[in-house]
């Protein structure tokens, strides 16, 4: 009777309600197989009871815990520590990248405005070159622009 077998460990642990205990004990009286199963469980519990005791905490256990606790209490505010940085870190990185891009965009916009205000200055290649933003290949093309003007 597997239903009684399932109850045998609880019986040995004294964890059965009185009615269930009576029912299981009545079954045991007439079932040698279940009695043997109960004996096996009791022997196992006896063996477990003879396990060596678990190790005692070391003498500095409490002291080390208090040190950890103190360090943790001195740590940054808990709400910062509780933020899910695993998820926020990528967001922070995206934010930083956006700030850089916004900075670059602002700089380019200022350059365009500067050009618009001082367009006359940039009709001269020398004036542009004096800003140091012209590379060698571009300078060569600009230097030969006048040759194109002669073509039909």
């Amino acid at each position: 009777m597997s239903c009684v077998r399932e109850e045998l460990t609880a019986l040995c642990d004294g964890a059965l309600e009185p009615a269930a205990r009576e029912r299981v004990e009545a079954h045991l009286a007439g079932c040698a197989s279940c009695r043997a199963a109960r004996a096996r469980i009791e022997a196992t519990l006896g063996t477990l009871a003879r396990l060596p005791p678990p190790p005692e905490p070391s003498p500095t256990f409490a002291q080390r815990f208090q040190a950890r606790l103190a360090r943790q209490e001195d740590a940054p505010p808990r709400f910062l520590a509780r933020l899910p940085w695993r998820y926020l870190a990528p967001l922070a990185a995206v934010g930083a990248a956006a700030a850089i891009l916004a900075g670059v965009g602002l700089r380019e916009r200022r350059q365009r405005e500067f050009l618009a205000r001082h367009l006359d200055l940039f009709e001269s290649y020398e004036a542009v070159a004096s800003l140091g933003d012209v590379d060698e290949a571009d300078a060569e093309v600009v230097a030969h622009l006048h040759e194109l003007e002669d073509r039909p």
């Binding site: 460990t9 043997a36 469980i41 060596p52 950890r68």
Partner: protein, 193 residues
């Protein structure tokens, strides 16, 4: 409502009494180290895990409600923490030596253990560690809390948030597995009926 002494200490700590937490720590430190030791089989690591549990308890104190038994609150934190550590795969039970032969039960540790008794006790400890390692997580927790920590079926049901019949079944299956695994240590040397 009459609070159990631990719950009263927890409430006192919630109200700002740090000495109440220290008292809780002193009362439960030993059992927590022992509980964690069943999962990692390493004294230093068990202490570290137990300290983690108390740190978590310290942080979780504001969420504690006196309607919950303190012991089940503590063991829920400990169970989750130990399982998480085990899932990281770093702390298996230490390799056990073969223990297929029947052992002399009279040599199991008593009040004054001889070297031979200690050796047998160590072998039994390793066999139990191996058994725990093989058990499914919930069986392992239920078995450890019942057999080594002395929690009742009702308390274990609260910790694991399952019904008492479910706990009964978990403990029964784990005990059957223990009967098999520890047969060489039984008085008849494993001749199960």
């Amino acid at each position: 409502m009459v609070l159990d002494p631990d719950a009263a200490l927890m409430v006192a700590f919630q109200r700002g009494d740090p000495s109440a937490f220290r008292t809780l720590f002193e009362r439960h430190a030993r059992s927590m180290v022992a509980f964690c030791h069943h999962f990692v089989r390493d004294a230093a690591r068990a202490e570290e895990l137990a300290q983690d549990v108390f740190l978590k308890l310290h942080h979780a104190a504001p969420s504690y409600r006196p309607s919950a038994r303190f012991k089940t609150f503590l063991y829920r934190i400990a169970s989750n923490h130990c399982l998480n550590e085990l899932r990281r795969g770093e702390y298996g039970a230490r390799a056990a030596e073969p223990h297929g032969e029947a052992v002399d039960l009279d040599a199991l540790p008593g009040s004054a253990a001889t070297p031979e008794e200690e050796a047998v006790g160590d072998a039994l400890g390793r066999a139990v560690a191996e058994l725990l390692q093989r058990l499914p997580e919930r069986q392992r927790l239920a078995f450890a809390m019942c057999r080594f920590q002395g929690l009742s079926y009702e308390e274990i049901a609260e910790v694991l948030e399952v019904s008492v019949p479910a706990v009964k079944s978990l403990i029964h299956r784990a005990t059957e597995a223990a009967a098999e695994a520890l047969a060489p240590f039984a008085p008849d040397g494993g001749e199960a009926p």
